[in-house]
């Protein structure tokens, strides 16, 4: 099962933290610990984070198998998944890719500050993988966004464009979008 999904930028500011299993130690300490460890890893190393410093934070099952931290970095963002033995390590790497592609597609059309959460909700529910097909995910995201938009429009008949938030007017490179959009109105 997936226990947590974290996104943070290169300054360590969390852009999304979602815990599917409550952690007993402070969430912030854990996030900061993971960030500092991930951030110090140069490119080219493996995508699994294993460090003696982290071990006290990660739960262990009866056989002594610990949670695993899988991460990928895209431009200035780090995507981190915390998983246990029931997930395939390589599968999760693919899933992160799926997540990022879905974000990519969705942000082409929608701009909501909480969109990341909504997209994640189409991929993972309660720590279990809901859907892995990017097209399906995109469809669901678009549908849900459309419904929210309609709901918004119905209660704000005067609003222009029917969006929840003004469209970002930024046209960016394929990876630049992520930074710009996930940080809301620009990097802090």
């Amino acid at each position: 099962m997936i226990h947590a999904v974290l996104i943070f930028n290169t300054s360590g500011i969390p852009r999304l933290t979602k815990f599917y299993t409550p952690v007993h130690l402070s969430v912030q300490t854990l996030v900061q610990k993971i960030f500092s460890l991930v951030y110090s890893r140069p490119a080219g190393l493996c995508n699994f984070l294993d460090a003696p410093e982290l071990e006290p934070y990660l739960a262990q099952n009866e056989e002594g198998e610990r949670w695993r931290v899988v991460y990928r970095s895209y431009a200035t963002l780090y995507f981190v998944f915390v998983i246990d033995g029931a997930e395939s390590e390589l599968g999760i790497l693919d899933l992160i890719q799926v997540f990022v592609e879905s974000l990519d597609r969705a942000f082409e059309n929608v701009c909501e500050l909480d969109l990341v959460h909504h997209i994640l909700a189409e991929i993972i529910q309660g720590g279990l993988v809901l859907e892995t097909n990017v097209d399906e995910i995109d469809d669901s995201v678009q549908l849900a966004a459309k419904l929210r938009r309609e709901s918004y429009a119905s209660s704000n008949p005067l609003a222009l464009g029917g969006g929840l938030a003004p469209r970002g007017s930024n046209l960016q490179t394929p990876l630049g979008w992520l930074t710009g959009k996930l940080t809301g109105v620009g990097a802090r």
């Binding site: 395939s88 909480d114 279990l128 849900a144």
Partner: protein, 925 residues
């Protein structure tokens, strides 16, 4: 009205970087206002902002009720904000969750979008109560017309079963149906849920194997195949037939699938599912290991990592297969990626055996060595090179070995690999001891305590390593840098504890042990931590004891000067520690000082007896002639040695303590000091006051003082007085001997009952299990019958203890040696056991020096010069007893009684310092 949106908040955060916390405090203040508003838009905006701040680490649990309010909004775009807030901030203890039952039920019957939102939320926030109440609705959702909803419903069932296991049977049958759902996504989700549920309770899901097997052979969805394969890995250990059935398809998948993730899962499942056992599994095992080995050599670091993960699991069953790739695996320990190093370390620790241990440990150790040396001091060649050519600035990343946590892990791994199963894999203990010393030097992290324990343990268990150990420890003790840096973090100065102990305990291995004394008592040791100093002092005493006994044996009068000098040196060096603020150091120093003062006095009064036969050296002469009252040498030279060497110090078997029989007549449950008769009457504040008063009055004017009091008070005090006496705290003789009236007795009983009632829940009172016994006073109460430990009874108090103490103290020596069986496996390297058994004095016998290096298992132990052991002990035993008290005015030690070799089986009072209990050696004499 002007409110900030989330966007404004983020913008504001960016603008107020310098004073973020102040800005956020202000923002939260605004949110507190907004969230109370009746305007749902404003409220939901506030919740959204809070959700954002929650991610930044600012608590939003206080707003949980408002989150529920927003959740109940009929507008989808607001409702979704509410659910988002709930997912982010609710946990199992959020109390408002109990208010949501109806809301959730209602939302589950709403539009598909609402249902999807609700199912997603439920997967996060479900509590056992909610699970119970919502289970019918959730199960109903499995048949929803839309696949997207069915998918979510299936996943929500996982939480349902986890929170409310009562429904699991029902759910399992429904999930079985869902395996045949027309929608592939629903099937995948079902497999996903089953995979999780199976982990917790594999046996309940064996019935699902056939449909899953069918899916496995027909599906081409890799995501789902991975999960099915994983699932079978969990199931097959519980169903042997499954193994047979799975082997062919999985073997085929391994050889055909192009997806590496699937291939890896197949290999992994083969390993954990027990499919590699037996002859049919052997070929598969070979395939698996070769696939994994290919992964390890792959340039993709991720494959390397997971291959190491899986290898660890195959080592226990197929070590020989993995061993083929030992070099590759060892190379991964050098990987620059710490994640890979960690896994490789795991793997090699699982791989160690007798043949490769030295190689592996050396390699791991080199990580600690090279990194420190290169980072701290450039080698001569390096510094030369720096002068000739401009130094090349390498953009190298900090090596993983620089991280203290990693160094700690490495050090612990080394210790663990070597010591596992009581040194199962160590064949050469001299090598291991030098590894320990090296480790202490290079570790640079706090593993000193572990290293120390290992050293002492090894030397205690492996007799033949002692000589080498003493040599090594001698070097360690002479290492000035170690002493100098003792206070530093990670200096591992604790090994000096072991060094001092070993040198002290086994100084018989040294030819000139007295040369150690100046070293071990050098002024620099004050830099060490107190418990190490204490061991140093103790070791110095031991060494002197051995040295003095040796000198005495071959006494010539010229030795007097030298011995005197040594004694004086010891006195001088130990002296300062007498005023140590650490109690252990102080005590040991004081003891040592007194002993040595005594010896010095004896030496000073010694007059050489030129008349004696100077050639009568054989110790036997002493044994023969008890009549000779004056030995040729100063008697005090033999005072210390018996304290330490009368019993051999052996490793204690793990269950030794519990196998000590309880001596006859010793009742462990009996009170040593009888308990206060009535613990309940103790320490009632009121009573104390009364007591003080009485004392004071007594002091003032005796009898008349109490006479002044009212009758009631007097009674009260008398009554309590006896209770107090019962505690043995104060002695107060009743002023007037007054028999208790019936009235008084009931009154007292009543008060006791009250007090008992009060104290029952007071954690500071440990109640007697049968309070009635102590509480209700005997019927025929008179003053004498009240259970009182008389205070005059101090002697009476000591009485029973006195009679018991000697028997307690001596018990360990009264048993036949059987209960203290020695763990041979742990104690000796293979092959050495016979040697030990045959020679009772092997403790002191030494191998011939020539055959030493690497030959601890050598059987050529020479009958070496008998320095100590039986001969010496015999000679001691023939001496007239010392009258210590006469010579020094104070009894420094218990008088050493004659110890005869054959009397080893009996207790030897006076030879025990109390610091150590030495399980007796199996005396074969």
């Amino acid at each position: 009205m002007w409110e900030r949106t989330l966007q404004d908040l983020i913008r504001g955060l960016r603008a107020n970087k310098a004073d973020e916390s102040k800005f956020i405090a202000k923002a939260i203040e605004e949110i507190r206002q907004e969230i109370k508003s009746d305007d749902m838009v404003l409220k939901s905006g506030a919740v959204l902002k809070l959700t954002y701040l929650d991610m930044m680490g600012y608590d939003m649990s206080w707003a949980s009720f408002h989150v529920v309010e927003v959740m109940s909004s009929p507008k989808l775009h607001l409702k979704s904000v509410g659910y988002l807030g709930a997912i982010q901030s609710f946990d199992q203890d959020t109390d408002v969750l109990m208010l949501t039952t109806n809301l959730l039920k209602k939302d589950l019957t709403s539009s598909p979008a609402d249902i999807a939102l609700t199912l997603n939320g439920i997967s996060h926030i479900l509590t056992p109560d909610l699970a119970r109440d919502l289970s019918p609705e959730l199960i109903k959702m499995l048949t929803h017309s839309r696949p997207a909803i069915r998918k979510r419903a299936v996943l929500a069932l996982y939480k349902l079963v986890k929170r409310y296991p009562e429904v699991s049977t029902q759910v399992v049958s429904r999930l079985k149906d869902k395996l045949e759902d027309p929608d592939a996504g629903v099937i995948a989700a079902t497999v996903n849920v089953l995979c999780e549920l199976t982990l917790h309770n594999p046996k309940d899901y064996l019935a699902l194997a056939p449909p899953l097997f069918h899916l496995m052979t027909t599906s081409s969805n890799n995501w789902m195949l991975i999960k099915i394969i994983k699932l079978f890995g969990t199931l097959s250990p519980y169903e042997p037939r499954l193994v047979k059935k799975l082997q062919p398809p999985i073997t085929e998948l391994i050889s055909t699938t192009p997806a590496i993730s699937l291939l890896y899962e197949c290999v992994h499942t083969c390993i954990i599912g027990g499919m590699l056992e037996g002859s049919s599994g052997d070929a598969l095992a070979r395939t698996c290991v070769s696939k994994l080995a290919a992964f390890i050599q792959d340039s993709d670091q991720n494959l390397k990592y997971i291959a190491l993960l899986a290898m660890v699991k195959i080592v226990p069953t197929h070590p020989h297969l993995v061993a083929q790739y030992q070099d590759t695996i060892l190379a991964s320990v050098n990987d620059q990626d710490i994640s890979i190093r960690m896994r490789a370390l795991d793997l090699i620790s699982a791989m160690v055996d007798e043949t490769n241990l030295q190689n592996i440990v050396q390699q791991v150790l080199s990580h600690l060595v090279t990194d420190t040396s290169s980072s701290n001091v450039p080698s001569a060649a390096e510094s030369l090179a720096q002068h000739t050519i401009p130094p090349i600035v390498k953009p190298s990343l900090p090596s993983p070995s620089a991280s203290p946590a990693y160094r700690f892990t490495l050090s612990q791994r080394i210790l663990q690999m070597c010591s596992q199963n009581t040194y199962e894999n160590v064949t050469n203990f001299e090598w291991y001891l030098s590894v320990l010393v090296d480790l202490a030097h290079v570790a640079n992290v706090d593993v000193g305590v572990q290293i120390r324990d290992q050293m002492v343990d090894v030397v205690g268990r492996v007799k033949l390593a002692r000589r080498y150990a003493v040599k090594l420890m001698f070097a360690l003790l002479s290492d000035d840098a170690m002493l100098r840096n003792a206070q530093d973090e990670g200096s591992c100065s604790e090994v000096l504890w072991a060094a001092a102990f070993i040198c002290g305990e086994y100084c018989s291995e040294l030819t000139d042990p007295q040369k150690l004394l100046p070293l071990i008592l050098q002024p620099g040791i004050s830099n060490l931590s107190p418990d190490i100093i204490a061991v140093y002092i103790q070791a110095a005493t031991k060494i002197f004891g051995f040295y003095a006994a040796e000198v005495a044996q071959r006494w010539i009068d010229d030795d007097l000067h030298e011995v005197k000098a040594v004694v004086q040196m010891v006195i001088e060096r130990v002296g300062p520690f007498v005023s140590s603020s650490h109690i252990e150091v102080q005590e040991r120093a004081a003891n040592t000082l007194q002993l040595f003062n005594f010896i010095l006095a004896d030496l000073n009064s010694y007059r050489p007896r030129s008349t004696g036969n100077p050639f009568d050296e054989s110790s036997s002469s002493y044994a023969n002639s008890d009549v000779i009252s004056e030995p040729r040498f100063p008697k005090s030279l033999f005072i210390i040695q018996p304290l330490f060497s009368s019993y051999e110090l052996n490793p204690v078997a793990q269950h030794a303590q519990e196998s000590v029989p309880i001596p006859e007549g010793l009742d462990l449950d009996a009170w040593i000091v009888p308990p206060p008769a009535d613990p309940l009457s103790l320490s009632e504040p009121g009573e104390k006051k009364a007591r003080k008063k009485i004392k004071r009055e007594k002091g003032k004017d005796g009898v008349s003082g109490s006479g002044n009091k009212g009758k009631k008070k007097q009674r009260e005090e008398n009554g309590k007085e006896h209770g107090y006496n019962g505690n043995g705290l104060v002695t107060l003789i009743p002023l007037e001997s007054e028999t208790e009236t019936e009235e008084q007795r009931t009154e007292r009983e009543r008060r006791r009952a009250e007090r008992l009632e009060r104290q029952r829940d007071d954690p500071y009172y440990i109640m007697d299990k049968k309070p009635s016994k102590t509480v209700s006073p005997p019927h025929d109460v008179d003053l004498d019958s009240i259970p009182v430990v008389k205070l005059e009874g101090m002697p009476a108090f000591l009485g029973p203890v006195d009679s018991r103490l000697p028997s307690l103290r001596s018990t360990p020596f009264q048993y036949s040696p059987e209960p203290f069986y020695i763990d041979r496996v742990g104690e000796m390297p293979t092959g050495a056991a016979a040697l030990t058994n045959s020679s009772p004095s092997s403790h002191h016998s030494t191998p011939t020096p020539g055959s030493r290096p690497g030959s601890i298992i050598s059987r050529t132990a020479s009958p070496a010069p008998v320095r100590l052991s039986s001969g010496l002990t015999a000679s001691i035993s023939s001496f007239p007893q010392y009258e210590v008290a006469d010579e020094d005015g104070q009894p420094a030690t218990p008088t050493p009684e004659p110890v005869k070799v054959q009397s080893k089986k009996k207790k030897a009072p006076g030879t025990v310092t109390g610091k150590k209990k030495r399980p007796k050696a199996v005396a074969a004499s």
